[in-house]
């Protein structure tokens, strides 16, 4: 039997949304969503990504999940948010795994010049988001509205091809797609289309240097 999930759709959603709004307004700022004891999570997706789905999705917002097998994640999101699963070209929210990337970003909608907001938001699962460099981490630097000078974060478990495709899609501002990155410790980081992305893979050279 499906158990009820312990999630307050008024207050948990509000607190999670405020973190999202803060992250979107300050790209590269790492915010932590407070933990909610959500039960029976499907495998293959960060719990944080599901919390974002619960905070933002309802019948009016469509989604797409990239999955290999039996659509467990899609069923879970559809059951708990009532959002419709649609084709990748029409989806408002797209859930992507940071490592198993299959090149779907060029087919996402990125708005029109008159209505640039009619575009996809992608929620990407990565392994870790940190302000400290570690072995095998990808150094990501952001510049643009919301960032005082530049903001640098370190990610593991993200295929750089995703960033290349996003940069390609966001060339023609205001058209583009917005990113929300999540890790498995409830950290989130947002990269709106207004920001300029540069990255260096395997930034092992400056170990442990804290960048604010």
């Amino acid at each position: 039997m499906q158990k009820a999930i312990i999630y307050d759709e008024v207050f948990d959603a509000q607190l999670h949304y405020r973190m999202l709004l803060d992250s979107m307004a300050r790209p590269g700022k790492i915010n932590v969503l407070h933990d909610v004891d959500v039960q029976q999570i499907p495998a293959g997706i960060n719990k944080t990504s599901l919390l974002i789905a619960l905070a933002l999705l309802n019948t009016d917002a469509s989604f797409y999940v990239e999955e290999k097998t039996d659509n467990e994640i899609a069923k879970y999101i559809a059951l708990h948010s009532s959002a419709p699963m649609v084709s990748v070209q029409n989806a408002d929210f797209v859930f992507v795994s940071g490592l198993q990337y299959t090149g779907l970003i060029p087919s996402l909608k990125r708005g029109t010049l008159s209505y640039p907001e009619d575009s996809a938001t992608i929620i990407i699962d990565v392994d870790s988001i940190s302000s400290l460099a570690s072995a095998q981490s990808l150094q990501l630097t952001l510049k643009g509205p919301g960032v005082k000078d530049t903001q640098t974060i370190y990610l593991t478990g993200l295929n750089p091809a995703i960033l290349d495709d996003v940069k390609e899609q966001n060339m023609e501002f205001p058209l583009g797609i917005d990113l929300i990155l999540t890790d498995n410790k409830n950290c989130i980081v947002c990269i709106p289309r207004s920001n300029e992305i540069t990255y260096i893979t395997n930034s092992t050279t400056d170990n442990g240097i804290h960048r604010s």
């Binding site: 307004a25 009016d60 509205p145 709106p192 207004s194």
Partner: protein
């Protein structure tokens, strides 16, 4: 028996139903991601008429939580009738703490002013906007202004500013002076006086705008370049208060109200009521810094 506290209130927390809140929240995320772009939204029915601050109220109620401290001003004053009514409404619907103190607030809703006191990065500033479209004075059709924004075709706006200068010797725009956000979109900063416009540039706080009657949301993220429209040889300038000082505090570098006393004498008083109170109590509030204030 388990007591059910969840439905003791007649209304949902923050009045608006959760589905509509989610819609406003999603639109606000897009508004922040595209600084200066006006996102259409549902503008649900409120217990006050559209055009009386519903846009700001929608934004406030969509993002407010139990722990927020709410401040609302109307033309700089915490005690104006619009501010008092909306404060009472938000308080009844959320039971949030309300305050007059700018430094204490986490959410500040405003009608037509930015506080003189500098904003912090944990504060969100929410505007009630009557007319969100800066190009409406030069183009009457919505589909056309939308296309002009899409193509960054602002020639008509520049011509209108030029004509104003040729006709009157100055750009005769007062409150709601158009600004360019992130070098891309022209935006109407709600009718804040020119005095406040430079404070939008590289602000610490997130600025959210809601126009309820016109059904538009837009945003200026923190640390974003906001330039008032100006020519190389005809520069933007703020209101001139030279030779005036606040009659209560003697302070000179603030936006002033002009008062006439019963005996016909003219006096000036700081418009921002909380800033005035703090100065009167010698508390030295930290003011916004910009090059226009520094020139005084």
């Amino acid at each position: 028996m388990v007591e059910n506290n969840k439905y003791t209130n007649k209304y949902n927390f923050a009045f608006i139903d959760e589905a509509t809140k989610k819609e406003i929240r999603r639109k606000l995320l897009k508004a922040v991601a595209i600084p200066g772009y006006q996102v259409p939204y549902s503008s649900p029915e409120m217990p006050i008429s559209r055009g009386w601050g519903t846009g700001g109220l929608h934004v406030t109620l969509a993002i407010i939580g139990k722990d927020d401290v709410f401040k609302i001003i109307d033309q700089g004053s915490d005690a104006s009738v619009n501010a008092c009514n909306l404060r009472e409404f938000v308080h009844q619907m959320t039971n949030c703490k309300t305050t007059y103190n700018t430094a204490e607030a986490t959410l500040i809703q405003t009608r037509h002013r930015i506080t003189e006191e500098e904003l912090r990065d944990d504060q969100i500033y929410i505007y009630q906007v009557p007319q969100p479209e800066p190009l409406r004075s030069v183009e009457r059709y919505e589909f056309k202004t939308r296309q002009m924004h899409g193509e960054a075709d602002y020639a008509k706006m520049w011509v209108s500013l030029y004509e104003s200068y040729v006709r009157d010797g100055d750009i005769m725009l007062g409150a709601g002076y158009p600004v360019m956000v992130n070098k891309r979109y022209i935006l109407a900063p709600s009718p804040i006086p020119k005095w406040d416009v430079p404070n939008l540039n590289h602000s610490n706080a997130l600025h959210l705008f809601g126009a309820g009657r016109e059904k538009r949301l837009y945003a200026i993220p923190p640390y974003t370049i906001v330039d008032p429209l100006e020519f190389e040889d005809v520069k933007f300038h703020t209101e001139n208060f030279s030779g005036t000082e606040c009659y209560r505090t003697g302070y000179k570098k603030a936006f002033m109200d002009e008062l006439y006393f019963d005996d016909g004498t003219k006096h000036f008083l700081i418009n921002d009521s909380n800033f005035l109170d703090k100065l009167a109590e010698d508390m030295e509030p930290k003011q916004h810094a910009n090059k226009y204030i520094d020139q005084l």
